[in-house]
Symmetry: C2
Subunit: 257 residues, 2 copies
């Protein structure tokens, strides 16, 4: 638990915006990417929310989470159609005018044939006043940052490029590292009590226990995460000894997929 | 938007509990399943949250969402290890004692060899007072419902069995149905304005626009969702005509994966 509570690292919230994720049409792929990359940058994700394309919900959620976390990363809702309302909602949450961004507007206006930079596309160049663009080569329409809120596309390929464009501007913390061991035939109910004792001694780590199932049988993977690599290695060494003492053959790392 | 705001159907919130999803170790697969099944049952998911294994966060989140939504479905954190704290957090959120559930306790005690029903496993038979079991044949340890909160496992296979066991007890609404059309070469920026006009005329539907990318090119899929199947069909017929009027060859349904 301690690593999740560590005060030293900045914190992140991921906000996934879109009816399609809440209806089950679309399997979100952005949280996993952002969680891994932000962990590497020492900005661990502490919470994620998935909200529909409803203005009041988006505005109130952004208002809440931008006050609670150091960074908020949104995905989705920045295209040209009627269900793309993230940008104006972010402006409303900050109490800022939503207006043409001069650089984005000029760039997009120049890229389209005369007449094609229509009202719908103009919305993609309209942002909260003072927005800082997140530009990439994979999408003409940019993302943007305003305050501690970073607004990105929902399409994973575009979102990932936007994140990598944004990353150098983020103030990073200590990277979160991970060490793991797994043991076939190990049962969570057997290992739980001595494992809890190890967690207690390594309060700077998050030690997680994850059962896995394979056609040839299953077991348990134990993962230690935190900013202290030496502690993670030491804790996993103890878990390895524990598994061996229970008659299992522990193997370093996560189980093969 | 209107369908999301419909007052007639009960509402659901999905709460995914686990550090492993927030760290990017694990790709959540439970939201998509629950969103689709709950849509079919007329209990649309309005929001989802992913929170870490931290007691204060779980308790405060459950307290908030159980007041805001008709149903809350949690996944994760009901195993025997130290990071499995969902059950006691739900009890705390309801202000109820967390105590052995007589039926679950007896069943689990009988299933283990003498001595194997240890303190860690006993936690899986310990629940908020008054909990109603969610029993399945795939897992000895049951889920449970207390009030409007339904507590299920994080392992998808177990969660899905628990959901199907629970489903007949839920008061359902009108099923949410979906109709779609897609057109290769259609651009969101071109279709956006006439599409917004269609959405405006079908206020009972959520009409979503989703670009797709394929090796041979891309296009846009338009999806109409709501409880009124005739309206969804009619709206998609209008979108089909719109796509054809723009020179595309619209095809019914979602694009092939």
């Amino acid at each position: 638990m301690a690593a999740m509570n560590a005060l030293s690292n900045p914190t992140a919230c991921v906000l996934i915006i879109g009816n399609e994720v809440l209806s089950g049409r679309t399997q979100d792929a952005n949280l996993k990417f952002l969680a891994m990359r932000l962990g590497e940058l020492g900005i661990p994700v502490r919470e994620a929310r998935i909200v529909p394309d409803i203005a009041e919900v988006i505005v109130s959620t952004i208002s809440e989470v931008r006050a609670r976390f150091d960074h908020v990363f949104t995905t989705g809702g920045i295209g040209p159609t009627h269900d793309d309302i993230t940008s104006e909602c972010v402006a409303a949450a900050f109490g800022l005018p939503w207006e043409p961004h001069p650089v984005a507007w000029e760039k997009m206006a120049a890229a389209y044939k005369p007449g094609d930079f229509n009202a719908a596309r103009q919305r993609m160049a309209t942002m909260p006043r003072g927005a800082r663009l997140i530009e990439t080569t994979v999408s003409l329409a940019p993302g943007f940052s305003i305050g501690n809120v970073h607004v990105m596309a929902g399409v994973p390929r575009i979102m990932q490029a936007q994140f990598e464009s944004l990353a150098p501007r983020l103030s990073c913390g200590q990277p979160v590292v991970s060490r793991a061991v797994h043991g076939s035939g190990v049962l969570e109910g057997t290992i739980a009590e001595p494992l809890a004792a190890i967690q207690k001694r390594y309060a700077v780590l998050d030690i997680g226990s994850y059962p896995y199932y394979r056609s040839g049988g299953g077991g348990v993977a134990i993962v230690a995460k935190g900013t202290d690599a030496a502690a993670a290695e030491s804790a996993i060494a103890e878990v390895t000894s524990l598994m061996a003492s229970l008659g299992a053959t522990p193997v370093a790392g996560e189980p093969p997929v």
